[in-house]
Symmetry: D2
Subunit: 341 residues, 4 copies
């Protein structure tokens, strides 16, 4: 059994991680932590998260520097479901011991510190950790993850986008006269657990935001290998992302070319489900799956690929768990899919 | 044309009032105001309320004591869509002139100041105004409203509940061995326009609140004439209230007794629609109507009455407009129902 | 007062038309009709549409050929909220008299009968009517509508898309190396009032459909003047469409170019609201408005334009009313916007 | 490993059962079946249920009389997620062998065949099976379930209602001058997977139905031991039930009496979570839990108890699994709660 800690367990992603760890056959949840001045410190998981009302044995402990060192020395795995700044500041201490660290913030996803500073609003000074960090898009990084000590778990939109686009880019099928156009809609859990007029129930209604400037654009571009136009939207649902990707293909590319390509790339990836029709967000809500479907218009050369994930699961917690499974020497889907493990 | 001001126009009820006044054939909107330290002061209605994006000519003015006096002297009607304390504090000044004042807060709904203090958390010191205030349940107060200078517009839950229950109580049909049981579900607009974890999209899901202690209980009881058990719930929708009322009837009361009773009481009340089946919340959302339907189980003597309103309209703004129409000598439904006016 | 009939009043669009006509200061609703074998024949509007429970005076009459001739001879305006085939078959008779006919189906929107047959599945044989039909995108066809006898009211997606794209195309600002990419999400009312597993509550969740083959693609292309990639989605809300349009602009086009362009094109069009930020679907739900906002990335040359409408209103009924107002010699917004008329 | 079959796997409850069985550490899913003339026969679970897109190995087989006998002889457990009539007709054959049968329809829940015929519309002729059937309210029937061959899995509303009320009734705390008043709201999944105008997305909005006549009333009464007033509502959400129960207590009953009572009754029942505040529907959605909270008004003697379950889980599939676990000699929560099993 591996000993595990979750830092940031008062948020939605932290709660989902806790739930996955508690159900994992080879992990023991040893600590659930929050920042030093969190209003939730001292409460149980049951008190903070209604859906975890049976988990009254886990008390949210406020983090401090002594604890950072202790966790690094004693844990096998540490999940960071924390703000970018906190992950950035704590990574060096947390990764100094035997623990492998899985960071769900954006702090270690961009190797280019200039681009980072522009999009995250502060300078990156944890450069050694940044060098070591493996970008944990699990289906593409199995080998690197096996020896990783620091994992930057991908963002929700990048996960949905990259799983749709990487096969096309890697196979050289994209006509580069036009950037891939990614339109994505996310459920409100993506905004995190906090009071805000923007995400209050009466205010939420389908709307574009972060247009032509969202920080997930450089993340997608860095890990895809080419530039994109990415337009995120807030949707009136709780969980899930649907990314609809429109691309122009190299002349002569056919529907069956893409069929073969996706089948080949994802043949041994049980988390990616190649669907017979365009997926719904609720097909993947509360699951670790990414559902893909695509259609080619041979006449015009355009294709549309849709990619659906649960933003809290494959877009955060269950992808982090895939990474942890691999880093700890387990099967990638351990604790995630019944019957596959 | 009557000159009208709305105080508290940055909230949902204020916005609805503005929209009704702009469309009213005999009213001119002269002022839209907010509290002195509102973050919305200086913005236009268009900037604050996306659905009123065409109303850029109305600028939210911060209120002060000079303005209070000016409004009292120059307006024909003033709508107060303000916190209880603000309405309480400003009423004396606002009602000192020619203006008739329509208060949508809870400040003037309870004549008993002890009960008021217990439920609102502060002592009522505007006792003269409280004496003069008419409780504006429009279908029952047409005469009093015609000469009213201060109107306490009823709360949303009391409106739905009283329109269902008053016919039964007034006709002496309630078996008093059991209190009427009111279960009601409100849309999230009822909580107002503010950031709060409780009303954030991800948190909202059907839930009882204020159980056996909500401040609308004494309001219902005072204006019904008997005690009730009232259990409000927050529902996952934006607008509307459904109140499901269960009562025990005097022995021998039949379905046709209730049919005749409701038809007789509401014969000339176009806002109350007696339905052929149990109403949905969305039948009345964005409308001024109250929909009623009922069923009697003659064998057991129990009956269920359902009452549906839009909490922002009949539960607030459109009922205030009914009151204003009557107080200003117009037809009650002026500006509210096409074809009736 | 103009005498008006609505054919197809048992559907959602028909109900919305009835509600608009009843509130229109210069129209009298004379007939509400359904197809000869409709299950709703003989019922009142109140019985079929819960939100119109106050309209018990309007009885749904089954249509037959005698009535077609009578309506043509006696009505000033006829709204057809009927299936494509019905509109196609009835138009010749309905337009043979004094009545002006406003068809909300797709039967008369495509002048090219080959394209029509491919997308609608039957041959167009009402060619004279098709020749006469004016495409009623009201903001662009005011002159033609004034003398029109047959109006093809635009589809919901084309309305949202064209109001966003026509200024750019007409000004020659589109870089034609890439087709405009239209991603749109529609509320479920767009699917009409009928039992279907696809639109059952439990099944509805954000999903692309009609990918690279939807019949609104040729409609957009015909009335825009260039080809597009259009991907519609079904969203988990009742009313509204958000179209997010991504285009590549001619080199050197700036944000202020587009600002000036949209302001100039829509200066005198009160239905089109140029917003200061990206619009939400609920900003326009239950309203006649189209809300537009745009952003240019000068570096890459790409721009994103968002367009929001209520699919039942500006995407159907209120746009039909704009057309009728113009065709009957009234102001375009009569009966639609309080305060402008 | 126990061999298991699911009959009726094309519905929502059947799909949930399949998902639970596939994840169960001691069960093997051998057959998924549908009725002989189902349109889904021959399809895979993946094709019929988007959320089970990874389960393409399970093909829906049409049931026939030969198969009934084979299943009875070879299976350890059979789940029937079928219409009342089908369960009624097939039970004798299915229960004739070694298999234990868990019926999720209403066919075997009412011992009184007169009451049954009145509420289900057909005469009960499988009387031997009815005699043998154990009502599977798992928290109250652990002993009987251990030796049961036929289990009538309780209805969704009765489960929520009985878990709230049985402690009060059994302890003799109910003042019988008034019937318990149960107001409950169910998500739309409760209506099953079928096309219907009533459950189409645009039509769904909070509404009472089955008022003073729903078939779950006699089921609650039979298994509680006293009469109730039960008013179900359809809510605008996919999964879950919230039952709000209002009762009058024997004079002198206090909050702490109820606190002690519920804690004592459910001390060893991990599926029932006694909450510190009133539960939300989404606290239990997609979980096997029943969440309870209560409040007493000592002055009036009334109390309100709220009970939340997922109608597809504790209201159907996961309760059936609790029953199966017990009947097969396993721990009740096996395969249901991580960490407890």
């Amino acid at each position: 059994m591996f000993n595990i800690a979750v830092i940031g367990a008062s948020g939605y992603t932290g709660a989902q991680l806790v739930n996955l760890i508690v159900g994992h056959p080879q992990m023991t949840l040893k600590h659930v932590l929050v920042s030093e001045n969190s209003a939730d410190a001292g409460k149980t998981m049951a008190q903070v998260h209604g859906n975890l009302a049976h988990l009254s044995q886990y008390v949210l402990t406020p983090l401090n520097s002594d604890l950072l060192a202790e966790l690094a020395a004693t844990m096998d795995g540490i999940f960071l479901a924390t703000p970018h700044e906190a992950s950035h500041d704590w990574m060096e201490a947390l990764s100094a011991g035997k623990a492998k660290v899985f960071d769900l913030s954006g702090a270690f996803r961009l190797k280019d510190t200039e681009v980072f500073a522009k999009h995250y609003g502060f300078a990156h000074t944890s450069v050694d950790c940044l060098d070591k960090a493996v970008y944990g898009l699990a289906e593409y990084q199995a080998d690197a993850l096996k020896s990783a000590n620091i994992v930057a778990v991908p963002g929700c939109y990048p996960t949905a986008s990259l799983l749709a686009l990487k096969p096309l880019f890697n196979a050289g099928l994209l006509d580069t006269s036009m950037r891939p156009i990614i339109n994505a809609v996310s459920g409100v859990s993506g905004a995190g657990r906090k009071a805000s007029l923007t995400t209050s129930f009466y205010e939420v209604s389908l709307q574009a935001y972060g247009v032509l400037g969202h920080r997930h654009t450089p993340e997608i571009e860095a890990h895809l290998g080419t530039q994109v136009i990415f337009t995120p939207h807030l949707g009136n649902f709780k969980r899930g992302i649907l990314a609809t990707v429109t691309v122009k293909l190299k002349a002569g590319t056919t529907q069956s070319d893409l069929d073969s390509l996706y089948e080949s790339v994802y043949a041994d990836q049980p988390i990616v489900r190649l669907r017979e029709s365009f997926p719904k967000v609720d097909d993947v809500a509360h699951t670790p799956f990414c559902d893909l479907h695509w259609k080619v218009d041979a006449e015009s050369g355009y294709a549309v690929v849709a990619s659906a994930i649960d933003n809290v699961m494959k877009g955060a917690a269950s992808q982090a768990m895939q990474c942890a499974n691999l880093a700890l020497g387990l099967s990638a889907t351990q604790g995630l899919i019944h019957g596959y493990e």
